[in-house]
């Protein structure tokens, strides 16, 4: 996996080789069977012990990004009118982990 997701957040100016990146998009199933981006969600990054490490609001297109360290992490996604969703993810230096979160 390399490069940012098409339509995602720009990685311009960031030395990707030195970062352990976790990024992705929060989506919600719509009535027509498609997935709609959720632009007013909050994604929390929890460390291997479950402790909070960082949080970002999603962009208008539902995208988010973290610069984590190598290892195991959990994404906890909060969105209006829905229960929090936890997603496990592993990160490593020089790699970009793409995660799709469905709320």
């Amino acid at each position: 996996m390399c490069g940012a997701t098409e339509g995602g957040l720009s990685l311009e100016g960031i030395d990707v080789k030195k970062e352990a990146i976790i990024q992705g998009q929060v989506v919600r199933a719509s009535s027509n069977g498609q997935s709609d981006p959720v632009g007013n969600a909050y994604v929390r990054l929890l460390d291997r012990t479950g402790e909070f490490t960082a949080e970002v609001p999603t962009s208008a297109t539902g995208h988010f990004r973290f610069f984590a360290g190598p290892g195991d992490w959990t994404l906890r996604t909060l969105a209006p009118k829905t229960e929090p969703v936890d997603t496990a993810v592993n990160a490593e230096i020089g790699a970009i982990r793409e995660v799709a979160v469905h709320v």
Binding site: D15, L45, F67, P80
Partner: protein
């Protein structure tokens, strides 16, 4: 100060949107958040330009602060209600900053912007118009602001609370994980500082935990209220939140925020640094 005087709920703010004695102020780490939508009537303060000297690393002067608030229509008699993103990190910073310059009536909206959004409350892009005022600030109250020499002297003597995430404290990360990790300063923490991440003060929705839970949290790690405390993080904004909890919610007598925080301490020549999850000895050696 107490929870009743220092904190208001999102519901309370919604009920007081048309109260002329109140000025809502949004302060965010992401300084574009306000422009994408804000609570009706709220003004914006940009922490990078409005609240920082643009040459030296320091706050704006008393005179500049007076000019800022006067131009934005904030008067000495107004009740200032602050809110912002990141669980009120920068709103807490502004709360501490306003207190530093002696504003009398100031409150934080519990949960900040996140709670407001998760409640699906209304945001607008309409900009408020406010009449200018003639604001008078006080000299900085340095009983709530710690500087580097005092922080170094506090090693092994005072309560030092490092409120960064465990991975930043241990030296495994150099910045909060939503920021790139390449940084100039050394990794680690001030020896003997205890790691109580700011997030332990808050629920997932950004609201503060109950006084009972907060008292238990600090009792468990051995933060004594009768001992002087210095809180620090990376640049002094998350530690403002912990300062708010200890000083304003729990009523600890002497609590200072070290706004130089790790970006200053971790760049100092010759000071001890501890690595790993334990506080370490005063000289920086592991226990």
């Amino acid at each position: 100060m107490s929870r009743e005087t220092a904190l208001v709920t999102a519901e309370w703010v919604e009920e007081h949107l048309d109260d002329p004695s109140i000025v809502l102020v949004e302060v965010d780490e992401d300084t574009t958040s306000y422009d994408k939508g804000h609570i009706r009537g709220a003004i914006k303060l940009d922490w990078t330009t409005d609240l920082q000297d643009q040459v030296r690393r320091d706050f704006v002067s008393k005179q500049k602060f007076e000019e800022l608030l006067s131009s934005r229509g904030v008067g000495n008699d107004h009740t200032v209600v602050l809110y912002g993103g990141n669980n009120n990190w920068f709103a807490s910073y502004a709360y501490w900053y306003f207190t530093l310059y002696g504003h009398q009536d100031i409150k934080l909206m519990d949960g900040g912007r996140k709670k407001w959004e998760l409640d699906s409350r209304e945001l607008t892009d309409e900009l408020p118009e406010r009449e200018t005022t003639s604001y008078t600030a006080q000299e900085q109250d340095t009983s709530i602001r710690a500087f580097r020499d005092e922080t170094v002297a506090a090693i092994g003597v005072k309560n030092l609370i490092d409120v960064r995430s465990p991975d930043e404290y241990a030296g495994r990360l150099l910045a909060p994980a939503h920021l790139p990790q390449e940084q100039a300063q050394r990794a680690g923490h001030v020896p003997t500082s205890l790691n109580v991440p700011w997030s332990k003060n808050c629920n997932d929705d950004g609201t503060f935990k109950s006084d009972e839970d907060l008292l238990a949290l600090y009792a468990e790690v051995g933060i004594e209220s009768d001992k002087e405390t210095i809180a620090l993080c990376r640049i002094g904004e998350r530690s403002s939140l912990t300062w708010f909890v200890l000083k304003e919610l729990l009523g600890h007598e002497s609590v200072k925020n070290y706004d130089g925080s790790w970006t200053e301490y971790g760049s100092l020549v010759g000071v001890p640094v501890a690595l790993g999850d334990e506080p370490g000895q005063a000289d920086g050696q592991s226990a």
